[in-house]
């Protein structure tokens, strides 16, 4: 054991320590720093406190969705419905607050509950109907989006009460509320995934379903909880978005699953499950945020930004798979 450790180079040892202790891949941190440096050199507006808060604010919605993606992908599943469920949840909350005129607390609950129900249905179909997660959540992508359009009759719902708007636009101590909510959510999610039995079983499940079953873990039950959790987080993202733009927009969150899944993969989540960390995912989400912010500052058309995100996703998976194959050959 000792001889092997000394054989490893300094970089390899730091890498291993960061994976074992902090559950992050060092490469993603390097990419984030390199990208930020590049953007700072290219744009004079990049390095400022207000722009930094802008990036965090723009990352908050994607960040919450990426946490959901991390749990699902880490467990060996997939949730393509994240963006649509987020849109549905925002509309549901706005409908409860504006059309029904119910108290804001109920609107907040409606957002998260709508997401959780959609996720619960995903989980039931995946574990009981034996339809692959890819198909179930792709179907839910269409279903949830359609339902959001039906509820809102295709138009954004305006006129949210001030308490809801505060969730999106308030700035206690100068820090945007969505950023505070993202950070708190990420801390709790990190603790749960890395240090609780639930989190360990989630990764074991994604690693080897057979091993998890043999160990007495109730595999189907666990999957249903994870999909429900994923939906509830998409609901929270919908709340943050709706509150920030002050409207229940039925088209909110289109293509967000693409960015969220990309953030999770860049952050070191194994596409096939078994390895994931929220800390890594947050770095991944920041990379996506810096990329989008930088490209906007450089006045690159948003069409190209979309292309960049898609390209980054494929590149991240390529690099990950390349490393896995290299390691397994040793």
């Amino acid at each position: 054991m000792a001889s092997e450790t000394t054989q490893l180079g300094f970089w390899a040892r730091v890498q291993r320590a960061s994976v074992e202790r902090l559950h992050i891949r060092l490469e993603s941190l390097v990419v984030l720093l390199a990208l930020s440096t590049a953007m700072a050199l290219l744009s004079p507006y990049f390095l400022s406190l207000s722009n930094f808060l802008n990036i965090l604010l723009a990352t908050s919605t994607i960040g919450v969705l990426a946490i959901a993606a991390t749990f699902v992908i880490g467990s060996g599943g997939l949730d393509l419905s994240l963006g649509s469920v987020m849109g549905l949840a925002g509309v549901a909350g706005a409908f409860v607050a504006v059309n029904l005129g119910w108290p804001s607390v109920l609107a907040v609950i409606a957002c998260i509950l709508a997401g959780a129900i959609a996720g619960y249905i995903n989980g039931q179909l995946v574990t009981r109907a034996f339809v692959p997660a890819f198909i179930v959540t792709l179907g839910m992508l269409g279903l949830a989006r359609g339902l959001a359009l039906v509820i809102s009759q295709g138009r954004a719902i305006y006129g949210l009460p001030p308490e809801i708007v505060y969730i999106g636009q308030g700035r206690p101590f100068g820090i945007p509320m969505p950023v505070i909510i993202l950070v708190l959510t990420a801390i709790v999610a990190h603790m749960v995934l890395a240090y609780t039995r639930f989190g360990r079983h989630t990764l074991a499940l994604g690693d080897s379903e057979g091993a998890a079953r043999a160990a007495g873990i109730r595999v189907e039950h666990h999957r249903r909880i994870i999909y429900t959790l994923s939906g509830a987080l998409a609901g929270l993202a919908g709340l943050l978005f709706t509150a920030r733009v002050n409207a229940g927009d039925p088209t909110a969150g289109i293509n967000y699953e693409l960015t969220a899944i990309t953030a999770a993969i860049i952050g070191g989540t194994n596409l096939f499950g078994g390895r994931a960390s929220i800390l890594g995912t947050m770095i991944g989400a920041l990379i996506m945020g810096v990329l989008q912010n930088g490209l906007t500052l450089l006045a690159v058309q948003s069409y190209y930004q979309q292309m960049a995100i898609g390209g980054v996703l494929i590149l991240a998976v390529f690099i990950d798979q390349y490393q896995v194959r290299k390691e397994s050959r040793v």
Partner: protein, 258 residues
């Protein structure tokens, strides 16, 4: 004293009947070999004991309790452990995570929040268990997928023995091992017997089965076809029971050559 007794266990998958009423009993501290041709139903039978499969009919009693309705986790807590042929390890997780999977010790975080895994306690106990088995692993903090076959086998055995089982089922534990490693697994089985732990050994290597077991049960066409006392039988009889007639002499000679 009978530890495990099965009566009339039936199991079918769709139109395929695998088990047609199996009777089997194992006493505490007894080592029973389970042999049979491919497709005789050995693995299916063992999985109905561990609870991975639910028997269609029949009864299973363990330690005087009816366990037919219990799930794998509950049966494990009663003391039934299985070492699977494919080892059933979570390859990206480390040694302690595999040994304690589903049974992680927990503590309160900051003395407040319950349910947090006590990783340092897990690592400590895992290291102690590996040491007790006399095995050497490069590091217990590495993912088990980076280990050799024999090292992974050690982790699987450590997982089965950490929680003081009463019955350990081993499915082809020596199939993928080098000669020296085979001997250490056989020694381990003898040690378990001396500690009063019952073992069911599934193996194609009849020499191993004959050298280490007290009894040999032959499974054939989904039934327990023969129940032989190891001390009173021999290779020829076991082989003839497995193949059920035909060219017994040739088959036995083939087995003898190993």
């Amino acid at each position: 004293m009978t530890l495990l007794s099965l009566h009339g266990i039936r199991k079918s998958f769709g139109a395929v009947d695998v088990l047609h009423g199996v009777d089997l009993s194992v006493a505490a501290g007894e080592v029973v070999g389970l042999v049979g041709d491919n497709g005789a139903g050995k693995s299916t039978l063992m999985k109905t004991i561990t609870g991975i499969y639910r028997a269609d009919s029949g009864s299973i009693e363990f330690d005087g309790k009816d366990i037919l309705a219990l799930d794998p986790g509950q049966r494990r807590r009663l003391g039934i452990e299985m070492i699977y042929q494919d080892l059933s390890l979570a390859k990206q997780q480390d040694v302690a995570s595999n040994i304690f999977l589903g049974r992680e010790p927990t503590k309160r975080l900051f003395g407040l929040f319950p349910g947090f895994v006590d990783k340092s306690e897990m690592d400590r106990q895992a290291a102690r268990m590996i040491e007790r088995l006399g095995a050497h692993l490069p590091s217990i903090n590495r993912s088990v997928g980076s280990f050799s076959g024999g090292q992974q086998q050690t982790v699987a055995i450590a997982r089965a023995l950490t929680f003081n089982p009463k019955l350990v089922i081993m499915d082809e534990p020596t199939a993928a091992l080098a000669v020296r490693e085979v001997q250490s697994v056989l020694d381990l089985i003898r040690r378990l017997r001396s500690e009063g732990i019952a073992v069911i050994l599934i193996s194609h290597r009849l020499n191993d089965v004959l050298s280490v077991t007290d009894r040999i049960v032959v499974l054939r066409h989904g039934r327990a076809d023969a129940d032989l006392v190891t001390a009173k039988t021999n290779m020829n009889e076991v082989v003839s029971r497995i193949v059920g007639g035909g060219d017994i002499a040739a088959a036995a000679a083939h087995e003898q050559r190993g």
